[in-house]
């Protein structure tokens, strides 16, 4: 949007949670933070990761919603649930392969990152990527990413046989065209068309 895209690089994350704090300050969903933040395994490592919604090209959450409450807009953003329609059934919470949507009990609504739509729809940058002190969450032009980072943006993921392409990019080592995390996705099973090119 306005030439900029969203890039996630968890290896840069320092776990400061600035993204979580700033997220609830934007005007779309004041007071509720939509970042998914994890300590990977604090006993073993200080590694942390913060994620936003991946705004999939064919959003699973929207496809499984029985109330037609999740829409993908023309600029590619997948909105949070439409307030009058969401019935709090949690289909989307269960279906999303990235685990992004959350059922917020006090409103009985699904809420998720909408890339600070009040900001990005007018050319401003989303709160999380603006404040992130390590730029693990970055919202810049593709040219900037190409010029400044050695990792390459990837937006194709395999979850078993399901191929998902997203609007948000994950930074991955150069030469990684797609991201698959299931070993089965790497196995050669003959000339089966469902085997992804995940190597």
């Amino acid at each position: 949007m306005f030439g900029m895209e969203f890039y996630v690089d968890p290896s840069r994350c320092i776990g400061c949670q600035s993204c979580l704090k700033a997220c609830e300050e934007c005007d779309t969903h004041r007071g509720v933070s939509m970042i998914n933040f994890d300590f990977i395994d604090r006993e073993a490592t200080i590694a942390t990761a913060a994620y936003v919604c991946w705004h999939c090209d064919d959003p699973t959450c929207a496809q499984v919603c029985p109330a037609d409450a999740i829409k993908k807009y023309d600029d590619g953003i997948v909105g949070s649930s439409l307030k009058p329609r969401c019935i709090g059934c949690s289909n989307c919470v269960l279906a999303c392969p990235f685990g992004i949507p959350k059922l917020v009990p006090q409103y009985e609504q699904m809420m998720k990152c909408d890339m600070c739509y009040d900001r990005t729809s007018v050319g401003k940058r989303p709160m999380c990527a603006t404040v992130c002190p390590s730029q693990a969450l970055a919202y810049v032009t593709p040219e900037t990413i190409a010029a400044t980072r050695r990792e390459k943006p990837v937006n194709t993921f395999w979850f078993g046989n399901q191929k998902i392409t997203t609007k948000v990019y994950m930074m991955a080592p150069a030469g990684t065209p797609e991201i698959a995390i299931d070993v089965a996705d790497y196995i050669w099973e003959g000339d089966h068309e469902l085997v992804p090119q995940a190597f």
Partner: protein, 170 residues
């Protein structure tokens, strides 16, 4: 319903409830309300336009149209004429030796032609039994709500001339 839809492998509900706003066919409440408002507004504009046209169509100066010679019409007699334009029918009545009155002939109810009923000394409309006073054209009875517009007359050199219409929209 299915015979109006092209054959397709995706189920009907996917068509009708698309995830992508770009594919939405059903009108949203907002769009419908917008439509209603715009239509209503344009109708109002249209009406205002018609009103403006009518108002502006009033001649800046009233024409002088001779109607009849002074003695031509007998007392209680009638002459129809057109004033101010050729498609505005009017009616002249000689009510006494000296007095003549003239009104628009279009009944103010639904524009039927009114006639002079000598016996009752009033103008009557045959369509819906509306009756107008001969003195000032006001409604005596019946469905008309407005008085007949009056045509002002002038007697000049023995000629009766219509000089102005009063009380009408036209």
């Amino acid at each position: 319903m299915s015979w109006f839809r092209k054959p397709s492998s995706t189920p009907l509900w996917r068509d009708e409830f698309p995830v992508f706003t770009a594919d939405e066919r059903y009108v949203s409440r907002r769009q419908f309300t917008k439509f209603l408002t715009l239509t209503s507004f344009s109708m109002m504009v249209g009406n205002l336009w018609i009103l403006a046209r009518s108002t502006l169509r009033r001649p800046a100066t009233w024409p002088r149209v001779p109607v009849a010679a002074a003695g031509e019409i007998p007392v209680g007699g009638v002459r129809t004429f057109n004033y101010p334009a050729a498609d505005d029918p009017c009616i002249l009545v000689r009510t006494s030796a000296e007095e003549y009155v003239a009104y628009s002939q279009k009944c103010t109810h639904l524009s039927c032609a009114v006639y002079y009923e000598k016996a009752q000394n009033r103008l009557e409309c045959p369509c819906h039994r509306g009756f107008f006073s001969i003195e000032d054209g006001s409604v005596l009875e019946g469905p008309p709500q407005r008085a007949l517009p009056r045509v002002a007359l002038e007697k000049t050199d023995g000629q009766l001339v219509a000089i102005r219409m009063e009380g009408g929209l036209v």
